[in-house]
Symmetry: D2
Subunit: 476 residues, 4 copies
């Protein structure tokens, strides 16, 4: 509705009412203008109606929605199913261009604007959540692991001789596999146990760099967010090493955006040392469906190079989800979610402590992990029984816990891991982890504790052992 | 509605009507049962209502939609925006698992079923369209180029010494960049001009293999679908070479599924020689939004290895789109689209020939390219004017044509291409290409010819030269 | 996207692409402007994307979508379910105002514009389909029957003494009941049989007017579209009578908009005599869900009085459906549907004739009914068996046929009808009707004939008699 | 997904996960079963996913969604626009049958089940909110006013001699017009002022009955929910009179379902006297878009007669909205909304009192109106200025207040009302009303008070007078 159309409306309904509507419309237009002008994440969330209007507008800027457009290319964003058309708001051209996933797509000005705005708001998000000096980022429609691959493949261009990636152990498959997929040999650095916590062995890293030769090392691949009893890596010290030896440094910040601690570590590391890129998942941090990752860094040129390393045009779907979600929440909405999470983390910890103690176990003391926590599972009984506990919870609709018996051995890509799942060769006890991640509710926690309490009772009673089906507890 | 519920309905409405509805329901259930049982692409398309019902059902099989589920993990498919929730049919868990994009996701049985069925129907699609002996495939939510990267990264595992990829020249950036991204050195094989056509120089490939040493070569990367005047590579002969020298062979079949010729080439190549994988785009062949590719091959183990090379869980969105589209069209609907395309290809060729001749140009004789065609642009006038023609068409809402002046030089990743865009160092004339790709309509073609006719007239009149803005004609 | 916002977009994507998009946008804006300016039904259909954009825009003009609106009334269009919100495009205020269903709603300028435009386009529809002199109309979210009640209640105001409604018999319940509901005594005029057809007995009407006294008669209630063997009433002659005796005249044109003949009758009647209002269903003529009727007439004041007779605000849902459908089809799309229907009517007639003759029956000669047709069912066998035929078709998924045995007696509101369903006391034979109504497809007809053929065979074989459940054939 | 299909899924994904999903599915199925079995409003709300699944299931029970259905009738629920189809969940047949809006529709078993369940849950709603002895009700897709017409037209059948409707004055147009539309002469009973409140003059009613003769009176039409300073009618006493004189009694309970007081009045009246029907709006009480009303009563036969008085099939849209909303909220959700409203009513009253006193006005003492409240507007200044205040609020996005100057005279349908808007000929002061209706939020109230405070300041300052556009304050 432009001014002219509002004037025409006045012939249909009273001018006073139309003016009122026009004022209201202007206030929506202003929001849109400010977004386009400043490309900042709005403080206040937008109404769904305005978000959908904007998506409709953007769609009309794409050539497939031009009136009288005739397409005689091989790729014209023709979508045959109306169901599919509608769920993508008639945006069909994806994002990027053959040579660069962050480039403008000539056939799709609207999709391109959406992509640019999303990346720009995401940059704001990273700044606000704790990395104020971040310089560039882009959303890529790939898993965190595959995004790490992309970062390593980009680093390769400037480190052609490198063969190794140094990796402080974190027992999560996709992270480890990303090294293999990128074509490098992972060099595992075992964690140090300090109290209940597993911490980065910085000295071992430095020793390894010296042993292998810095020029043979592509990068150190560190991790922030992780399952207890592991805690985030000592990023600052690793960054200093990487700077000292001119070795790349990539951070897997999977679900760390939701935690001030993780973000702060990245910020500090970037100030005192080298940190080429940090990668985070959109679904884990932004409450959207699985599908995207954010690749960010402090050197615009490097991040641009990463984006140019993705060959081809890509799905706009994760960008659309993030675009909608960021606008819908606004900064305020997101900050409220962060504050709630923090609160619930404490609550879960307290309840878990009590429940553990009731059953003769204890909450492990892992104060440096801001999201994940663990309780001991003393194992007078055979190993298999520990996994039973996981199955019992699973069949009672508790999802997301991990039961780790610390004795499993697993081979991944030719590498043998002892105590797989526990981030250590010999963690002293079996345990169960749970996380207070963004979006968790008080109801979730209360139900979890209630069911855990019941299940612990049954599980500790010897007669019910071995009666439940075993279900894998590895649900990445 | 199960039988019990239908019985209860009979207390609300007459049993005769309920029975009728139950019969109808059964017929839908039968469709669903047959799909689950045989995992084949249905002959007849399904009604949107049944497709949405099935998606709703699958969503309810995912843990995030379990009643009373409590999630205490870091990834629980919590989706905060209802708009986002709805556009994904409440499927939030993505597909795959940390180690394997084609693996079952324990938290998401429904999404997993959807992924398996989609991959299974896609396999059917490939068989039906001309590669009956294809053994395995999977849909990956990445661009074709990035999917080629994944294939090369997988091949690397068995060819650790390799440094080169032999590449019969095709002037399309993402394909070339995929080699660089994968970390290999591209070895460009120039095409041979035969009449107007540009064909694979098979002899030059063999010579290059000998020169570089087979063990140093990862693979030959061939192309089927491409812009005229290039024609699909001579896959059979290349496949024989790859077999003879034990060199990998990957085919970029970007939009070749829609062409019997391209598919037949793949089929034949697989029978007489080596062909490790062929990759095709979902949007270009299946009329869905940009976002996915299908990686397929003849050796189940190899294709499984590729799927295991993708680290992390990925977006289900492209799978959902393909699932909906395949069910909506059915084999019959798709075959009808293929038949129409074939017909329209001839029609476009005929109209283009006439239009060219009217303006003193000619349709190039490129009978071996089943999708793309070209007309000459005699260039008594300076080079810049050729691109003008592209701009003139672009501003008249003709999308997808390419105007190539054959004199452009471009550097990509350190490699210099003379005559970039024309697949050759010195193609004798400038030209304009257009494609009759799946989904094109008679109206598209008629409009195109009408506008081309007008524009050619203006363009040939010397006085209008140099007056239009130049717009890039490279719109991959 | 206003001009300012497009300029801002140019900082995000190349100006050339934005200009292209802006041009395209303008062409959409122009469509919207022309619609607002001329309020005419567009010749060409609109794309769904533009329709949804317009609905989104209109919704933002309603107070419930104003940013910062605070509602402290008893009716603020608060919609608690997001599902409901979305399916109504966030339009919640309905249409009209306490005193007038066609009035502007101050809280809802957008809904009001939508209502006005819809009514305006519907007026165009009536003009185009054959009543060029129609002066006013409005869409009311009620059934045709209830809309007839509203017309009669309005007429009452100027004819306070009237007690009777003269009604040429048409055996369709809701029409008859509308008279009772309005509080009048129906005076049934039996039809005359002429050949196979049942026609209006105009003489009997005049006689009745004289007998009862014109001032005691509210109106004659005639019918156009109806089931064969009845044909549309002789509107011209009835209109002349109504004019002569100053008696009201209301026409039930239920599904007559789709037929030039029915519309022509109305046009002619309005020119030569009196016709106060004619009422038609939206679902039957415009392929929308059941729910609305159009009340139209030749005297603006009278039609306005009808609209003011509806007390209260009403559902906008049928208006939204019609708005979308009219814009989506455009005049061209609708005319194409009309032309197809006409063609298919002939086709069905021909196939039905052949099928009837094959089984020893005949197509009744009812050339004046433009939509419905009938074949004889000779009944050597007992009456009950005729309805069996209907059931047999019903269970074979043939919907919409009517089997009439001409011997049923039914009492409705105290009035006894002999031969109910056949529009006559003693139609000479049982018969089956079918209709070629708008939206019917060749497939529908082919399936129908195929199944009818089978069923007739079975039904005529004496041994299968009495074996099927009886299902009502009256499915209004 | 039936058991067989779940078994087939087990061949695609691990049986343990499928079993989990099947268990979850069963729990949804159980909900559906219980709903069909008991037809009661569920205590707990349903997830959107389950609601949509059920709607999809119901749609598949309608003939237009039968596979292979061929329709050869005049009304086959063919919906041409996919947008329209989808927003109605592919339900197209509406509700009811030619003779009865609450009857089963043979072509639409699913829509019929939906209609029956909705009516059944609505009955529960009425019981729970305060009328436990209600016997029957149905949802009609018409405004409250038009529904009152329907009730009166039904009553007429048993009171053929009646000409009058006795109506305790309530200055709301549609209610008054409903009497005129039904064809009766309204007999206005002026209210008695008691303190600030306007109450029913029961004695005047009895006197009028005696004066006009009971057999000449169709009914007394009373009102519960209304704008202050009027309070709900004294239903008990009126009901006793109606019983004593055998006169009909219909109650306009427009937005009374949300108030225990209003519902209690109805309950009590039904126990001690006569109350034929009470009518309430769906949008005002159930937070759905405008469009439906609930007609309820204590005599099943009478309510059935009302439903049979609606001639024709009607829109299912309001039923779908209510179906979704009731299931989505559950009893608990709705009760929570009611509790919140009660709380906010007190809050608004308190804030309003303070704001009024600050500006030299007072909160009127109208303790018997449970929803609406009023503050005085002392009028040393001319009358026109009072309406200015309304305009000032309107342009500041405050919707729903009413400014009443008590001196307006209005003619409606030939009846002259002095002091229209104030329910009285000479209410002593001008005033402003506001309502704390269901769905109002604390934010709404805070914003309202803030803006009112500002506006009152400006309005009381003499220099700004007469500067704002006048906007109607009557926004029914």
């Amino acid at each position: 509705m432009n001014a002219q159309n509002f004037r025409l409306c006045e012939k249909l309904v009273s001018p006073a009412y139309v003016k009122q509507a026009e004022e209201a419309r202007k206030s929506h237009e202003t929001k849109i203008r400010i977004l386009l002008e400043q490309r900042k994440w709005p403080e206040e969330g937008w109404e769904d109606g305005v978000i959908e209007l904007m998506l409709d507008e953007l769609a009309l800027m794409d050539s497939n929605n031009f009136p009288g457009n005739c397409g005689v290319g091989e790729r014209e964003a023709r979508v045959v199913s109306k169901l599919v058309q509608q769920r993508h708001y008639r945006l069909g051209h994806g994002i990027g261009r053959s040579g660069d996933i962050a480039a403008i797509q000539p056939k799709a000005a609207g999709s391109s604007v959406l992509m640019k705005l999303t990346n720009s708001m995401v940059l704001d998000l990273l700044k606000i959540t704790g990395v104020p000096n971040v310089k560039a980022c882009f959303l890529v429609p790939m898993a965190t692991g595959m995004s790490l691959v992309l970062c390593m493949l980009t680093l390769r261009q400037s480190r052609p001789k490198a063969r190794y990636v140094i990796w402080p152990r974190i027992d999560q498959k996709s992270c480890f596999k990303s090294i293999l997929t990128a074509g490098y040999e992972p060099v595992v650095i075992e964690n140090k146990q300090v109290g209940d916590e597993l911490q980065t062995d910085v000295e071992a890293i430095e020793q390894k760099i010296n042993e292998l030769g810095a020029e043979n090392i592509l990068c150190v691949l560190t991790t922030t967010s992780c399952f207890a009893p592991r805690i985030p890596d000592r990023l600052e010290e690793v960054a200093k090493l990487c700077s000292k030896y001119s070795v790349g440094h990539i951070v897997n910040n999977a679900y760390g955006v939701q935690s001030t601690k993780c973000m702060h570590l990245i910020h500090q590391a970037s100030r005192v040392g080298r940190l080429d890129a940090f990668v985070q998942s959109t679904d884990k941090n932004l409450l959207v469906p699985v599908g995207g990752a954010i690749i960010a860094g402090f050197d615009i040129t490097f991040i641009e190079t990463v984006s140019k390393t993705y060959p081809g045009r890509a799905s706009a779907s994760p960008s659309i989800d993030v675009f909608i979600t960021l606008l819908s929440l606004g900064q305020h909405g997101y900050k409220r979610l962060l504050a709630e999470r923090k609160q619930l983390y404490k609550n879960m910890q307290e309840q878990l402590r009590k429940c553990a103690e009731k059953h003769g176990e204890r909450l492990l003391d892992i104060s440096h992990n801001p999201i994940s926590m663990a309780i001991s599972l003393k194992c007078e009984t055979p190993v298999s029984n520990v996994t039973e506990l996981g199955s019992m919870l699973f069949t009672r609709y508790v999802s997301g816990t991990r039961v780790v018996n610390c004795t499993e051995t697993k081979e991944i890509g030719g590498h043998k891991f002892i105590g797989f799942g526990s981030h250590a060769n010999s963690y002293p006890c079996a345990y169960l982890t749970a996380a207070a991640a963004i979006g968790v509710t008080q109801t979730d926690i209360d139900l979890f504790i209630k069911r855990l309490d019941k299940v612990m009772g049954k599980w500790k009673a010897p007669n019910v052992r071995n009666k439940v089906d075993t279900v894998s507890d590895d649900m990445d």
